[in-house]
């Protein structure tokens, strides 16, 4: 393998190191020790640092992988849709368990966190191609094709609706837009917003966005206009605009659909934001799982350049702005803005300490804004239709609409663009949910609500959400849901800070004790206290919300927990003597139980 040739393509640009490593992996199937050494030498960084980078990302591998790598989603919606059967079928076909490669080196089986297909589970990536609604029969067919050596893309038999069947996408993914709304999914004439924007001053753009009271759609709800203003005020040779398309919160898939159906609006939003903050360069940070959209999106950018909506002298008004797509490599934490910036710089996606905030020192330490896909698309619509039009929708605090990704137990899972202020009850009706026992709003890091909370409203002053809504009916075991979420956070913690790294493992252990039925009142108290320790002392939003699956169910489903514990017991040990001596019995050929009968 001529690594030098691949390396030379990247001009020793550190910010493109992840891309380079992906390139090597695409060519060789993995990143060999020799490749690591070559890369380290060329970039004058240590081998340990390159190894550290590779090991951080789920989709980079320093060990050989099969020709076909199956990444089966392990999120709760996948479990609910029959993931276990699919997993067993894959294991049977490949003849190896998950985490391993088949003996002939053909198929590697891997688990992966949510891939943004919750309304069409069980879903998997095979290499970079998405397969949805898997079942035993489909797995058998896929496996037989793999054994014949068929290219993965050719295994996709049917394409999804809308742009999913575009010749540059050709994915079986479905949009499932159940309710279209006026802000995002209404028709949009490309260029409208850019033209209007460039007719006014950057200050006026910021003012308009502020007047619209646009709050960040990623979940945190930071005022977009203020963010842009803060960034504009910072001095620096360059400013950057970053679009966060790394939606990784389990149950979220709305950015995928927006990028599929309204990519122009997103990119126009970046141009508008660039104009407002004084940036010439934008970066769309796209999660690896959505690699199948990359060519399509690049083509949109190309078209925009041709239409004079991107590049030099946009709309003939002397404003230059470019957008580059940077790919993630598999890490939920990169949805956190400062971690995203680190990753975009070609490093491990570890969050930064704040201050300085990204608007002060962001990408390459330059003032940067990081905005969610939906936020930018919304900004485009605001510039096209005006802030008054926008503020007429939603509530006084939460103006406009929100795109929700609804999955789980309902007849119509998919995308809903609704006005803020919608109640959970209304949403459940819309989605065709029956006998709903619980609803997870905002994904695992959000809140789990029971029936008494169904009159609550989706908005920033009540139930804030980045868009993930998962419905559970009364046949579901809430404890397995919580366990799945806790595992997710354990897996996706970057490990930097102690409470998140170790605390979540300990919390899960304690939680398991309660599920097993060996919990006491004291254990319930401790699980709550430990959750608070993690929440309070963690360094970034991941750790600060990772205990939420336990904490919010403990608040909203207290009785369920109470019914699991042994109330009168002061102390219950998890120790089991028979299990503990089992191995010694095998090694010595003795039978503990028999020996103890005649004592």
């Amino acid at each position: 393998m001529d690594y030098k040739k691949i390396i030379s393509k990247y001009n020793l640009d550190r910010t493109r190191l992840i891309e380079l490593l992906k390139d090597i992996q695409a060519a060789e199937g993995y990143i060999s020790e020799k490749a690591v050494a070559e890369v380290a030498k060329a970039f004058r960084i240590s081998i340990a640092e390159v190894e550290g980078l590779i090991s951080f990302y789920h989709f980079l591998s320093a060990r050989p992988l099969g020709k076909y790598v199956v990444y089966l989603n392990n999120s709760i919606t996948s479990e609910m849709a029959g993931r276990q059967e699919v997993a067993l079928a894959f294991e049977e076909e490949a003849g190896c368990p998950f985490g391993k490669t088949s003996s002939d080196g053909l198929i590697t089986l891997m688990e992966t966190s949510c891939i943004g297909m919750n309304d069409q589970e069980p879903a998997a990536l095979i290499n970079e191609v998405i397969f949805t609604r898997l079942n035993k029969e489909k797995v058998k067919k896929l496996a037989s094709w793999m054994k014949q050596g068929k290219p993965v893309q050719e295994m996709v038999e049917e394409f999804g609706d809308g742009a999913n069947s575009h010749e540059l996408v050709k994915a079986m993914v479905k949009n499932n837009i159940r309710k279209s709304g006026p802000v995002i999914f209404d028709d949009y004439l490309a260029g409208t917003a850019i033209h209007k924007t460039l007719e006014t001053s950057p200050e006026a753009v910021i003012d308009e966005i502020k007047k619209a009271n646009l709050l960040g759609r990623g979940g945190a709800g930071f005022p977009t206009g203020l963010k842009w203003e803060l960034c504009r005020k910072e001095k620096g040779p360059e400013h950057y605009v970053i679009c966060n398309a790394d939606e990784g919160e389990p149950g979220t898939f709305k950015d995928r659909v927006i990028l599929t159906e309204r990519p122009e609006m997103v990119f126009e939003g970046m141009v508008i934001s660039g104009y407002a903050v004084g940036a010439r360069q934008g970066i769309l940070y796209l999660r690896h799982e959505y690699s199948y959209l990359k060519k399509y999106l690049e083509n949109i950018l190309k078209k925009m350049r041709e239409q004079g909506l991107l590049g030099k002298n946009i709309a003939g008004r002397g404003f230059d702005f470019e957008v580059e797509i940077k790919m993630g490599a598999g890490a939920y934490i990169c949805g956190e803005e400062s971690a995203l910036i680190e990753s975009a710089e070609g490093k491990r996606g570890e969050p930064r300490d704040r201050p300085p905030f990204p608007v002060q020192k962001g990408y390459l330490n330059m003032p940067s804004t990081v905005n969610n896909v939906e936020t930018l698309a919304t900004a485009t619509r605001i510039m096209a239709n005006g802030s008054n039009w926008f503020r007429a929708m939603g509530t006084s605090v939460s103006a406009g609409t929100k795109v929700l990704s609804v999955s789980g137990d309902c007849d119509r899972p998919g995308i809903y663009e609704v006005e803020f202020g919608l109640t959970i009850d209304e949403l459940l009706k819309m989605a065709g949910a029956r006998e709903t026992f619980a609803i997870q709003v905002g994904g695992p890091s959000g809140q789990c609500i029971g029936e008494p909370g169904f009159s609550r409203k989706i908005c920033f002053s009540d139930l804030a959400t980045g868009g993930s809504v998962i419905i559970f009916n009364s046949s579901r075991d809430l404890f397995s849901v919580v366990a799945n979420f806790l595992d997710f956070f354990i897996e996706e913690s970057c490990g930097w800070c102690l409470p998140c790294r170790a605390g979540n493992v300990l919390l899960k252990k304690k939680f398991e004790k309660i599920i097993k039925g060996t919990g006491t009142r004291q254990d319930l108290k401790e699980i709550e206290a430990w959750g608070k320790i993690i929440k309070t002392t963690s360094r970034c939003g991941l750790g600060q919300t990772s205990a939420n699956p336990v904490l919010t169910t403990l608040t909203n489903f207290r009785k369920l927990y109470e019914s699991k514990i042994v109330k009168e017991a002061e102390f219950i040990s998890e120790f089991d003597l028979i299990t503990a001596v089992a191995e010694a019995c095998i090694l010595t050929g003795r039978n503990f139980q028999e020996e103890n009968e005649h004592v």
């Binding site: 081998i47 190894e51 360094r539």
Partner: protein, 232 residues
């Protein structure tokens, strides 16, 4: 004088230079805030969170957070101290800390913090993780004792800034990875520096353990932090 920052810690007033972190400002005013991952002269990373303080209802790591005008900081309040104690306990169960057999015992900052907080037993169950001991020509890396503080990552690099120690993997699998080639080229002084910079007994210069007799070790009689508290 006018550009100095006024702040209080547990009611005690202090003056700070602009740009100082809460930890630095407190220290300069004779107030100890316990730290573990922080090391004088290295860029703080806020990984152990033991230096957490509360200000205006918000929690923050004092090693990374700049002090601001009029800041009112809660440091030794029962609530803050309880969280710190929990974090120290968490470190004891996360790794395998067999103090009686450790070369660093008595000079270990993790152990010293536990002494200061009078920890009799961690509230968490011991995890007994499976970890390795790696040998390099001049030192050992005892992963069982590593607390992932990143002091070695930050403080021990080659002249041209290459990382000899680097973070590897993520989540609870996070560990320190050593660049074998660069480790071989380390000077004796650099190895000694690595051992000194490590707060626990994870980096051990060969043939340098157990040199100081019991009774003469750093934390045998004086609690960690007393050097700051006794200054004023």
């Amino acid at each position: 004088m006018s550009d100095k920052i006024k702040f209080t810690v547990d009611g005690q007033e202090g003056l700070a230079e602009p740009g100082q972190t809460i930890y630095e400002a407190a220290k300069a005013n004779g107030i100890y805030i316990p730290v573990l991952c922080h090391f004088e002269g290295l860029k703080p990373v806020g990984s152990c969170r033991i230096c957490s303080v509360k200000s205006n209802g918000r929690w923050m790591a004092s090693c990374t957070q700049p002090v601001t005008q009029g800041m009112i900081i809660e440091n030794m309040t029962p609530e803050v101290e309880e969280y710190r104690k929990a974090l120290i306990e968490m470190l004891f169960v996360e790794g395998n800390h067999f103090c009686p057999a450790c070369e660093k015992s008595g000079n270990c900052e993790l152990q010293a913090l536990a002494y200061r907080y009078q920890i009799m037993v961690p509230r968490f169950p011991y995890l007994f993780p499976k970890r390795e001991i790696e040998a390099f020509p001049k030192f050992l890396l005892e992963h069982n004792r590593c607390v992932q503080c990143q002091r070695c990552v930050r403080g021990v690099q080659t002249e041209d800034g290459q990382k000899i120690f680097a973070l590897h993997e993520r989540s609870n699998n996070l560990r320190i990875n050593v660049d074998r080639q660069l480790a071989t080229e380390m000077s004796n002084e650099q190895v000694q520096q690595a051992m000194d910079i490590c707060p626990v007994g994870a980096i051990l210069k060969k043939e340098a353990g157990f040199r100081i007799p019991i009774g003469k070790r750093k934390f045998d009689y004086r609690p960690i932090g007393s050097e700051i508290e006794e200054k004023e």
